[in-house]
């Protein structure tokens, strides 16, 4: 993603506590068990099992998931649009090795 910083995205993930629902490979605590493990997120075809895994959609999804997928457990998160792009960039660094 142009002009997005994965490292900043990781900081956002830590700050807002995404890990309280998801497992991230490089965050050792918490390792939330409610949402999907995001260890190989970059290799996934769909977001939330429904939406194509595209950068623009992902950024929108992490900011306001219910708007994109009504009924999802994932709530809207208190982050800015710029931060959502960073987060998306970070998520695309997560690949199964």
């Amino acid at each position: 993603m142009p002009e997005a910083d994965p490292a900043a995205g990781r900081d956002v993930v830590q700050r807002v506590g995404c890990a309280s629902c998801h497992v991230f490979p490089d965050i050792s605590w918490p390792r939330g068990a409610l949402g999907p493990n995001l260890g190989d997120f970059a290799d996934q075809g769909l977001i939330g099992g429904r939406v194509p895994n595209r950068p623009d959609l992902l950024a929108a999804f992490v900011r306001d998931a219910p708007a994109l997928i009504p009924g999802t457990t994932m709530p809207a998160m208190p982050i800015s649009e710029r931060e959502s792009r960073d987060v998306a960039a970070y998520l695309y660094t997560l690949r199964d090795r």
Binding site: V16, G32, T73, P78
Partner: protein, 326 residues
Amino acid sequence: MWPRISTPSGIVEGLAGWPPPVLDPAGPYAGSVAALSWALIALAAGIFLIVLAALWIALRGRERLRARLGGERAIWIGGVVFPVVVLTALLIWGLTLTRNLSEPAGGPELRMRVSGEMWWWRVSYLDGNGRAFMQDANELHIPVGRTIAIELVSPDVIHSFWVPQLSGKLDMVPGRRNLIRIQADRPGTYAGICAEYCGGPHALMGFLVVAHAPDDYARWLAARRAPRAAPPDRQSARGAALFVSAGCAACHRIAGTPANGQAGPDLTHVGSRRTLGAGILPNNRGTMIGWIGNSQAIKPGNRMPPYTVLPGEDLQALAAYLEAQR
């Protein structure tokens, strides 16, 4: 790994490592101890250097100096006379300070009660008669410039109440009632933590003290006491119903509703808290859902069971409802 370590995570505001909180007091009770600490550090450093110098002389020094050190007289001076003089002075200082710290600073004190429980803090605001007029958890709001006398109790095991910037620590011992005084002289958020090992997730038992300027405090208190509105939207209303039907109310209380459980933290004002899980997570809808859904993955061993069976919409509704409890 290194570059990431110093990244401020900002999970909880009010946590600062530098300057060290013990030496960066925000009120009189911690202040006099910080002064003592600096004096002790300087004294210890001075004596340590003297001993090192003596050792240097003993091993490498000139004959004449070594002869001075090498006798019983040196032992009497260095090992008896000097320590006795220094220690007598220290003892008197320590005793005087202990007395001053265990007495009221003057002026009317506010009273609170904090109960350390496995592994969170039950907070009660007390009126003039010692009765609780407001319940909360894991967060203490105080006005600056006032002394707060806090009763410390515990219903289960021993915990210890420690806000380094506001005062030293004091244990919460089952069957006893201890009294600690704190005072903040500048507004801010001060981190506290349990300092006595209490099993399981003892490491994750933090809390915050939020000091307001007097006017802000009055406003805050008035807002807290204002009548509570009904759930603002459909989602929250659904959450309110779920709170009772899903069993949350068996352990949690929300004032003005049928929910009156006493086992877990009071959730009357949970939406306004800065943290979840006793000072460990930021408070937003996402973390709230994560916590309700499976807090065991976040704080293993805590007393709240996982609710993975609840569908996403229910979790959303509960979180929305709780977010509105301000």
